[in-house]
């Protein structure tokens, strides 16, 4: 038996790991990957609560809204990564580095 708390704790830990990556790493690609980890933590929450709702209300119709929201979240994450990587590529061409400490102006 896996109670809901375990999923929430797993998601909290994943979020914290992602936040640490965003705060401490200098490589922009690693920062993007850390943001993805944080988004996946949110997805775990969505799916876990959806399942929990279904289990707590067994007579009601199965509700997969949380799973659908997780799918939307994955799609938006894909769009975000596509644009993020393209920006990084452009930044690398301009500055020859993707270290976030060294990219300190918003001018091209």
């Amino acid at each position: 038996m896996i109670p809901i708390e375990y999923w929430l704790i797993l998601s909290s830990l994943l979020f914290a790991i992602g936040a640490y990556g965003v705060l401490s790493r200098k490589n922009a690609i690693v920062v993007l990957m850390s943001i993805e980890i944080m988004l996946n933590a949110a997805n775990i929450n969505l799916v876990a609560f959806s399942r929990y709702h279904t289990i707590l209300h067994p007579l009601a119709e199965k509700d997969a809204t949380g799973q659908v929201f997780a799918l939307f979240s994955i799609a938006i994450a894909a769009a975000e990564v596509a644009v993020g990587l393209a920006i990084l590529l452009s930044v690398y061409r301009r500055y020859k580095t993707i270290e976030v400490d060294k990219i300190n102006i918003l001018r091209w």
Binding site: P3, S12, A19, Y20, A48, R51, K62, A64, F72, A75
Partner: protein, 86 residues
């Protein structure tokens, strides 16, 4: 180096805060890993609905447009500039 420790401590405090908040709630008993699983069929029903305008079909359409725009934006940003265009 000290800043790294501070960041680590801040993130640890955040994680402990989350875990403390989760554990302080009296959750009703329910096994999330129970076997009467939600199937793809249920996800499809939730996404497109049983009939008419129910479900999230329109939102999925918007997400498709968002992905297309992101793709085009990504291509535009990643496009290599020629020397004479600068």
């Amino acid at each position: 180096m000290k800043a790294g420790y501070l960041r680590g401590l801040a993130v640890l405090a955040l994680a402990l805060l989350f875990i403390g908040a989760v554990l302080s709630v009296q959750w009703p008993k329910g096994d999330v890993s129970q076997d009467d699983t939600v199937t793809n069929r249920d996800v499809g029903r939730a996404m497109f609905g049983e009939s008419g305008a129910s479900g999230y079909g329109l939102i999925m359409l918007f997400i498709g447009v968002l992905l297309l725009v992101a793709l085009l934006g990504g291509i535009f940003l990643a496009k290599e500039e020629k020397e004479d265009e600068i």
